[in-house]
Symmetry: C2
Subunit: 205 residues, 2 copies
Amino acid sequence: MSVPTIKFYVREGLLPAGELTSPNQASYGEAHVRRLRLIRALLDVGGLSVAAIRGVVMAVDDPGRPVHMVLGAATKPLVPRYGREADGGIEEARKTVAGLIEARGWRADPSGPASDALATALVALDELGHGRFVEVLDAYADAAEGVARADLDYVAHHVAREELVESAVVGTVLGDAIFAALRRLAHTDASNRMFGRTEEDGGAE
Amino acid sequence: MSVPTIKFYVREGLLPAGELTSPNQASYGEAHVRRLRLIRALLDVGGLSVAAIRGVVMAVDDPGRPVHMVLGAATKPLVPRYGREADGGIEEARKTVAGLIEARGWRADPSGPASDALATALVALDELGHGRFVEVLDAYADAAEGVARADLDYVAHHVAREELVESAVVGTVLGDAIFAALRRLAHTDASNRMFGRTEEDGGAE
DNA sequence: GATAGTGGCGAGTGCCACTATCCATACTTT
DNA sequence: AAAGTATGGATAGTGGCACTCGCCACTATC
């Protein structure tokens, strides 16, 4: 971690400035190192932009807000922003999403950012000729519930209350990466069973 | 979709040039439109780079190769490239991953890119004080297997053999996005149940 | 026959995550 | 005490990437 980079993060508001002991001497503590690791994790593994990370840390550092609001604010920058404003059929996709939320009994906003992201992805899939994919959406939702349960379980056992928000952010971002990697491995396994290969370089999907 | 952008894609090798009917007139067909949609999906939803997409389409278009090799080549650019070379403890994480693959009986390469990505994420988690997370890794793996089964099921029923490779790419990328969104929704649900909120703006994580 | 569009190509744009340079001051070494 | 080095702060520059512009010769269209 180079010094100029750290200065850059301080300027961008990702990292609090060290406490000045003299006009040109500042001291950094364990909290700074920890924050730095958080930034690197969100940046490298999560692929977040500096602006998004700024949003996250501002929410994490906000002292007086009720927990669930901080959670909302902190995780809002985590859902990726899709460029295109869906050429068409987005309404139908939204209905599908709303129906899923309804059927599952989820207490979630059918017009929130996560629902938007889901609808956008479904539209893209449909445009590529995979409209029938919605038929397996339930299996995905089952898996998502399973993962969410595991996350809650972990949080309940291993996370202190004051670390809750940061843990939620970390878990959301790194959890995505971990699950994606596991899915790749499971796909590789399936593909190799199907086509009868067992070793070699990259591993077929 | 602006004309210069399309010209750019052709130049970058993402999109085959149209068939020239005159020295300066080319005709584009359904295949081009489809390819364009694929590119936009990978770019916008999947967040792939142009270079990665070039790798994908080259593999997809390669006619003579055995299916599993094309699958491997096509999905290789899909696993994200993490910048940092893990400060330490990567060896232990690798062992954890290898152990998981072994325990699951997965036919997957414990030193392939997906395994690498998983190990990197685990290291990052550990550095942030969440080393115990490995305890819930099995639940994640269960979910990943469930999703992979659903994917296979979908492919078996709805995908023609000649579309297999492209579908695998699309499914890998969009599937990630879809699952991530569903996970967000499931988290929102859990959080709202826990903190007793039911509506309002963004949806708390 | 003027306007507008096309293929092809090199160069330019804007955004983003850094990185280099500078300055004045302060700590460290000898 | 003198020399060298490091730090905080600020401004400007770099490189990569996904486009985007402008130019050219030519052609399709009104």
